[in-house]
Symmetry: C4
Subunit: 194 residues, 4 copies
């Protein structure tokens, strides 16, 4: 199997996930502003998840670009990642409908955590298959974002015990870390260590 | 990333949006004409949105055709456009179910407006990335349709304060402007100015 | 636009239509055979529509294969066809849920009729764009199936006034005409005329 | 038609099936653990079906890779397979919602059985079209997994008469047989027979 096929299939699944998430935002029956307002949390959680799925799509593309052959292990590690991504609509809907209450927020964090772990496992599976001169290993560098994210998600899950608003702030921060082009941050980190 | 990949992913998302919109038209329980009739507004709003999504798909394709490389900024500007397009099913369903009442019509106009702005931003991001000899800049010309549309959508939002029927007429007119091959109109406009 | 792109987008929409149709078959709440039985008509109408969408996908592919360039008119004629195909899930669900009662059966026939007309219009638009030596014109030959189908659908709509079961039989027959490889039938028809 | 097109369409349908299955897991209204718990069986049945669809996607890809031309018979045999796969979301949802009770479990087994038969028919149709030197025939070898699976599914359907838990165990076992790389098992089997 060429990486192109794996990417096309994953793109298809990700395109569907990103689009059906919006179906959790049910059309309200009344036509006044007071009928629309209760949907605000669902809308905000949709925006957050849309950005996360966008980040995964983007990163997944770059990873596939550095992938040369597809083994059976890579294929199943990829399906494992898609599995956790497929739970985004459910976790997003539950968190939104319950206005960011503690347990749904913790479950959302858990799905983010599992997706991050699945992504890491896929990455390692590809690197292992490429041997010592792995292109992907060079491409990801020190991968500080990939290592920081799970820590943030675990913190967010734990802070739901205090208040879910800290958790939401952590989710937003973790997304921004991936969104902002990071040369400057990485340079800073390197200099500090150097 | 090649523009081809970005286009394939966008095509996938657009294909799903255009198709799930029809799911807002819920199958009625009875089997008589009087059970079907209440769906007429939902059907009409579906037709309108189908045409709009078709226009976006068409224009997006032409834009991608004039795109040479995909930067990170282009990628996120594209996802931003897809985000607003993904709200079409919701806005269409709410407007249809409430028989074109003022607020849902205004929200529909807002989603159209935001999609138009997102499209414009994507266009500008691509042009900026291509430098002074931008192919896309030449291809779009004076882009009078792209500049007129947001004005029409804002007018439509405002006229919901009077009556939503004027707003609907504006939505239809704005769609027709994109549908009708425009050489003659453009020539006329050029001659007037010239 | 290359025909390949138009076909890929159409394939995407058709793949989604064929799959979301099954969502009209709602999971029953109970777990006994008597809970499942009422779904039999929905299941049968799903099978019928699955076959029809399969036929359209197949024919559409062959048509695209004989298409050399894509004009604006072809693009919109194609979206027009996809529009009517997108109503299959609704028409199928309504007919199934109402156990093939007259009006839903007539609406199903109407959607089949409109899709057939849209297909014919698309075909003619492509042929016109190809000029006198149209490859597609040669490929479709006398197109007796394409000409017979609308007649059958109209008959099916009219016979719902008597009993919808004749209509259903006509729908099945019209599908079989497309399914069965037709060299022998065509030969027979040619011989009769010759 | 090239096998590539058939595969792309099938990939699209499979990507949608695998993703809409998650929609059967309805977002609960409350936000406590006791609201989430009743979804556990639905979640487990989703995991099982996700793995099965993943296996089909994987095997289908390998089959297409060994396919040289696409005849009309192959095309319809492929749609026949997609038809049974499209019933996975329904069967999965019914089994999950009813907490693996006997009849839904038997229906799930029936859908698995029919998909396995459809897969086998597609395989045979391709082999027949390739003549005596069929690449696919060589590629599948003795196909002991393909022959064992239907037997397992039939056993699972029958054991629902005793207890559905044996059936579930058989479903899991049948999936594992496909997941585990099988060189060793095959060698063992060959040695025994040799």
């Amino acid at each position: 199997m060429r990486p192109g096929r794996l990417e096309a299939f994953s793109d298809g699944v990700i395109a569907i996930i990103i689009t059906i998430m919006v179906l959790e935002m049910k059309v309200p029956h009344g036509d006044r502003a007071t009928d629309l307002m209760p949907l605000a949390p669902t809308f905000l959680s949709y925006v957050l998840s849309f950005v996360y799925v966008g980040i995964y799509w983007n990163n997944h593309h770059h990873m596939m670009h550095a992938t040369t052959t597809v083994t059976g292990a890579i294929l199943w590690a990829n399906l494992h990642l898609l599995f956790w991504l497929s739970l985004f609509p459910f976790a997003t809907g539950w968190m939104g409908e319950n206005h960011f209450s503690p347990l749904p927020t913790a479950l959302y964090g858990l799905v983010l955590l599992m997706a991050a772990i699945a992504y890491y496992m896929l990455q390692q599976t590809i690197i292992r298959s490429q041997g010592p001169d792995s292109i992907l290993k060079k491409a990801i560098g020190r991968d500080w974002k990939g290592k920081l994210s799970p820590v943030l998600y675990i913190s967010a899950i734990l802070t739901t015990l205090l208040t879910p608003w800290i958790s939401e702030a952590i989710f937003v921060a973790a997304a921004l870390i991936w969104l902002i082009p990071d040369r400057r941050i990485e340079n800073t980190l390197t200099r500090k260590e150097g």
